[in-house]
């Protein structure tokens, strides 16, 4: 009887991911039939690249949202990291690639640390703190670069090739994406530390009275998303080969947060899975690319993206509420029978 209950629970959670999967298939079908070029391999790899970047940042954002926080500054963080890395690469053409990647991640981590401190010790709500740093970091991008963009011939070939090759025949970019998602999956489902992150989001006061360090966990998740946004900066550079101060990472927070929420992470904290976020990123990536490919005007695109996201979340909410009620009811009834 208890086994039965567990499987019911896991089915419930899988159902949601299955729903996103179906939605993705529908999108593929619609875009593919409207515009056959959609399925061409160059377009597919374009989708995969942008999905990869989303996944890397989305993986971090998942843990932030699980703790009842949010990081609106991920786009600007990505921008700062990419710009700092690009400038170093421009000055030192021989700088090792691994070094550049580490620098970008460290810069991202510092941005995250700042956010974490503001939210934990500064006691500023995350939505306000990171709204502020969203603007501050963007300003920093302009300041350090003097509003001069990094051109493709200044970006080391080694960075650019991250989006196309690797020893394993899959581009490094996708390997990083897979790694980030797997890391978050591992943290959240296998480690005690991960459970504490979920605990803080599920009941902050309870967490404090159980001796969990609220501040420490908050700072950790912000540094974590910062580091991943830094990695995202590397991947962005690999993909676009240009770092324009005004464009780099602009609006990324919208896509990332949408992907995480569509992926089933509760915006009020406490629950969310890496797999869900991965699917959410795929959905957003396909949606954004598909609308362009089928020729929706850029003016309509933003509108359509937003609208489809709202539709997806609304349908999901309606379905999920009912399922959750049924599930809880099943447990109640089972207990009564006992």
């Amino acid at each position: 009887m208890q086994l039965n209950l567990n499987s019911k629970a896991s089915i419930l959670f899988r159902k949601r991911e299955f729903g996103i999967f179906v939605f993705i298939l529908i999108l593929l079908l619609v875009f593919g039939s409207l515009e056959p070029r959609f399925f061409r391999s160059d377009n597919m790899s374009a989708i995969l690249s942008s999905v990869g970047i989303l996944m890397v940042v989305g993986a971090g954002q998942t843990l932030v949202i699980v703790t009842r926080n949010i990081d609106l500054s991920v786009g600007s963080t990505l921008g700062v990291s990419a710009m700092v890395m690009g400038m170093i690469a421009r000055e030192n053409q021989d700088f090792p690639i691994v070094g550049l990647i580490v620098i970008s991640m460290v810069v991202g981590g510092i941005c995250g640390l700042l956010n974490g401190l503001l939210v934990s010790y500064g006691k500023i709500p995350a939505i306000i703190a990171t709204l502020g740093t969203l603007a501050v970091f963007r300003g920093v991008v302009f300041l350090v670069s003097d509003n001069v963009q990094i051109d493709p011939n200044d970006v080391p070939q080694g960075i650019i090739s991250l989006s196309t090759t690797s020893p394993f025949r899959i581009p490094w970019l996708l390997i990083f994406a897979f790694f980030s998602i797997t890391l978050v999956w591992y943290i959240s489902s296998k480690t005690l530390f991960g459970k504490r992150i979920y605990a803080v989001g599920s009941n902050p006061e309870g967490a404090v009275s159980r001796g969990l360090s609220f501040n420490k966990l908050t700072i950790f998740v912000f540094i974590f998303v910062g580091v991943l946004a830094g990695l995202g900066g590397v991947l962005y550079t690999a993909r676009y080969a240009t770092i324009n101060p005004a464009d780099v990472g602009r609006g990324l927070e919208f896509e990332v947060i949408s992907a995480v929420v569509i992926g089933g992470t509760n915006i009020f904290g406490g629950s969310g899975t890496a797999l869900g976020t991965a699917l959410g990123c795929i959905l957003i990536g396909i949606l954004s690319n598909g609308l362009t490919v089928v020729g929706v005007s850029p003016f309509w695109k933003a509108c359509a993206t937003g609208f489809l996201i709202l539709v997806a979340v609304t349908i999901d909410n309606l379905v999920r509420k009912r399922q959750e009620e049924k599930f809880l009811l099943a447990i109640r009834n089972q207990r009564v029978v006992k």
Binding site: A9, K195, A199, G211
Partner: protein, 500 residues
């Protein structure tokens, strides 16, 4: 040997002293109860002992050592656990995860946590406490009683020396209270000292070996349980003796004010019909989860119904909350903090919100009128406060309940739906609320009252409907009403064995 010795503890919040020179001793083999009215300082005392709140003056000696540290984690690791009335758990996590979440991996060992071993230990502890649910169940799917057991198990995973339970029985059914008490006694026999805070004195007398009585932040007396009585305790707590209200006399053939016909709200309320008369207090008994609160919510129009009617004498069919209120049907909910009050607004505003028809004109608030009405209600209900601008959050449980109830009474209330009128309420306020319910009924109000407090239910109700699994299991009135008969109907046990 004394596990715990507190010497002359004092604690102030602002200018007001919450604890004054309190001495408290606890021996290892005792279950020591702390009683007192709301605001007497019980919770503050145990919060100091468990390290959640720092003490201003005085010292705490635990296990023979002066306790100087103030890190919650350290204190918990030293073997003190506090279990709240509302379990402090993580609803999204499973039972196992809840239990293990603050477990510390030993230094030097691998940092990977051994989930298998933890699961075995947890299962073992749960079965020792007589719990049958799976460790993988998400905690939000458990009843409050089971959640408390999870809380206890979380404490037991560490070397527990002192367990403090703060009103553990407030929302438990009698059977669950029994299980809780058995657990406490078992733990006590295994060498865990226990501090028990309770409002229900009969329970305090049953479980404890010694009782400390607090009043206004001071210790009034420490009594051996075997040498005291409920009456004496009340006298010490309140400083005056309260007359415990007695059963109402029968109501005369008055008019029916509310008819419920075949009401259905899926999953909770299953085809319920009954009537209430003017001047009648109709008690609704049953176990937690039987659908009692949901029944009130369905009548009030808060909960979706798929079938059935609510007919009021004056207004006919009631479907929505707005109609209910204009027909004089009001609800005082069980969870006053979330559903009955605006915790972050002032007391005056909380009292004004239901009386905007009297205090505003043309969509504009009139603060003078709000104040006047608020003052009237505050005086009438003897709501204790520092200033009327005080936030509802800052009031004690009893006073919050009074505000939650009083806010309706400037309107013409014909039918009062009240859910757990004295949950988490001190004896003084409780008797005042009971008095109010009795008086209102005598003046013709119909009252439908859900209560898990058996005594309250039996003493106040003219008639009792007992619910089980969303249905009415039986109706009791007059001399049929007894604790035993309510319990029998609630649990579905008949003299020949199990029913249904």
């Amino acid at each position: 040997m004394n596990v715990l010795e507190c010497k002359s503890l004092s604690k102030w919040y602002g200018d007001s002293a919450v604890l004054r020179d309190v001495d408290f001793e606890l021996a290892q083999n005792e279950i020591h109860a702390i009683v007192g009215e709301n605001g007497a300082g019980k919770s503050t005392l145990v919060k100091i002992i468990s390290g959640l709140v720092p003490v201003d003056v005085g010292n705490v000696k635990f296990n023979g050592n002066d306790r100087t540290y103030s890190n919650i984690r350290e204190i918990q690791n030293s073997g003190i656990a506090l279990i709240h009335q509302e379990p402090r758990l993580f609803p999204d996590l499973s039972v196992l995860e809840n239990v293990c979440v603050d477990y510390e991996a030993k230094v030097g060992t691998s940092r990977r946590f051994n989930w298998k071993k933890a699961e075995e230990q947890t299962k073992q502890l749960l079965s020792q406490l007589g719990c049958t649910f799976s460790v993988q169940t998400p905690v939000k799917a458990l009843s409050v009683a089971d959640q408390q057991m999870v809380d206890v198990v979380s404490a037991l995973r560490k070397k527990l020396k002192l367990l403090i339970v703060d009103e553990p029985t407030a929302s438990l059914t009698p059977a669950e209270v029994k299980r809780m008490f058995k657990t406490l006694r078992d733990l006590n026999n295994r060498g865990v000292a226990i501090i028990f805070i309770g409002h229900r004195l009969e329970e305090v007398l049953e479980i404890s070996t010694r009782i400390t009585i607090l009043k206004d932040g001071e210790v009034v007396a420490v009594k051996k349980t075997s040498e005291t009585t409920e009456h004496e305790l009340i006298k010490l707590m309140v400083g005056r003796s309260l007359n415990i209200s007695s059963r109402n006399s029968k109501i005369s053939n008055s008019q029916t004010t509310l008819k419920i016909k075949n009401l259905v709200s899926p999953g909770y309320v299953d085809n319920i019909s009954f009537e209430v008369k003017s001047g009648e207090i109709l008690g609704i008994g049953g176990l937690v989860g039987a659908g009692r609160s949901e029944l009130l919510e369905t009548i009030f129009g808060l909960r979706k119904r798929t079938h059935g009617d609510v007919l009021s004498l004056s207004q006919g069919k009631i479907k929505k909350v707005k109609q209910a209120i204009s027909a004089g049907i009001v609800l005082v909910p069980e969870d006053r903090a979330h559903n009955g009050l605006f915790l972050n607004r002032s007391i005056i505003e909380n009292l004004a919100i239901t009386n905007l028809n009297l205090t505003s004109s043309g969509g504009k608030r009139n603060f003078r009128k709000e104040n006047k009405i608020g003052r009237e209600l505050i005086d009438k209900f003897r709501i204790k406060l520092l200033s009327s601008a005080q936030l509802a959050r800052e009031l004690s449980g009893g006073n919050q309940q009074k505000v939650s109830l009083a806010k309706w009474l400037k309107q013409e209330v014909k039918i009062l739906l009240i859910d757990e009128p004295s949950r988490g309420v001190d004896v003084g306020s409780k008797s005042e609320i009971h008095q109010f319910l009795n008086d209102s009924a005598q003046q013709g109000m119909s009252i439908i009252m859900v209560s898990s407090d058996m005594r309250e239910l039996i003493e106040l109700s003219h008639r009792i409907l007992v619910m089980r699994n969303g249905r009415i299991a039986g109706e009791l009135s007059g001399s049929d009403i007894s604790e035993e008969s309510v319990l029998r109907l609630a649990s579905g046990v008949t003299s020949t064995g199990r029913a249904n």
